[in-house]
Symmetry: C2
Subunit: 151 residues, 2 copies
DNA sequence: ATAAACCCCATTGTATATGTAGGGATTGTG
DNA sequence: CACAATCCCTACATATACAATGGGGTTTAT
């Protein structure tokens, strides 16, 4: 299971969004700086998340982004599919070298891929953005507590 | 869940191997032709599978490859890891654009990736090469039965 | 000696991933 | 109305990984 940088940024951005006060907008600029994400790249990502109906945007002065739904209603599978496309590709890409020969997909391999995809899907369907934000929050608190020992 | 062409070829090759008479060698040439796999590419793949201890080889006239173990003892996770490397990478690759800034991995994202990897892992550990070969066999038989209606 | 087979490394072409650049459109505020 | 803040969009550039391909070298049965 490998996440592209782009998807990782998308997840970070949405976790940031979920921890932002509800109903208020946040700005690309600050989000990019605070999370070490290239600003222009992040613009692309938020645009895709907007087109996927996960965030809304407001333009102009005082504008920015906000979640389109409550974090409990955003499954992580949605986020990942918005960026990377469907988890289980309908059709495997064709090879180039051996056009038209015996390149039928193996039923056994297809089955294996299908079962794996379903396993990932069920994990990603179960984790909502609210869960991720809580996890992040708790990790931050643990770090905080550990620091206290050094004061 | 996306398999590289290389991994797909490896699985096909090993399914072929599992269906080959036990203890006898099979040759790259025929395997490549019958499965539409580029011969030279398949050489690399079988070499890697040999180094991973999944197949053995014999050189010279009458040589070839054979499974190093019985198909029941080869987990599909082994095969995939032999070709693609560890399922759960210890460390995510670094971004280029933002060296040294806030590029810490998010604990929440790490957790999500870990849980997904474990879910895939448990599926791939469960499926052995024997299962895959049987699945392939049964699919072939179904196809055969369907053809009979047209005679 | 010869041919059949595996062994090994270097190179190449293509696609995908990861950004960058430049400007356009919208909107609140003075 | 001017202006600045903000999102919106397209095109381009570069790096890396993927998918082979090429050219030989080594081992071994006959």
């Amino acid at each position: 299971m490998r996440l592209s940088k782009k998807t990782e940024y998308a997840l970070k951005a949405l976790i940031y969004a979920a921890r932002h006060p509800e109903g208020t907008t946040f700005q690309i600029k600050e989000l990019a700086e605070r999370n070490g994400i290239p600003k222009k790249f992040l613009e692309l990502i938020l645009l895709e998340l907007k087109n996927a109906g996960i965030v809304h945007s407001r333009r102009g002065v005082g504008g920015g982004y906000l979640l389109a739904r409550r974090p409990e209603a955003v499954r992580s599978s949605e986020i990942i599919e918005a960026i990377e496309g469907p988890l289980a590709p309908a059709r495997v890409p064709k090879a180039r070298g051996t056009r038209g020969l015996g390149e039928e997909p193996s039923p056994a391999v297809s089955r294996l891929v299908r079962e794996s995809s379903e396993a990932i899907g069920s994990v990603l369907d179960r984790w909502t953005l609210a869960d991720l934000a809580r996890e992040e929050q708790e990790a931050a608190e643990r770090r905080q507590r550990n620091l206290m020992y050094f004061i």
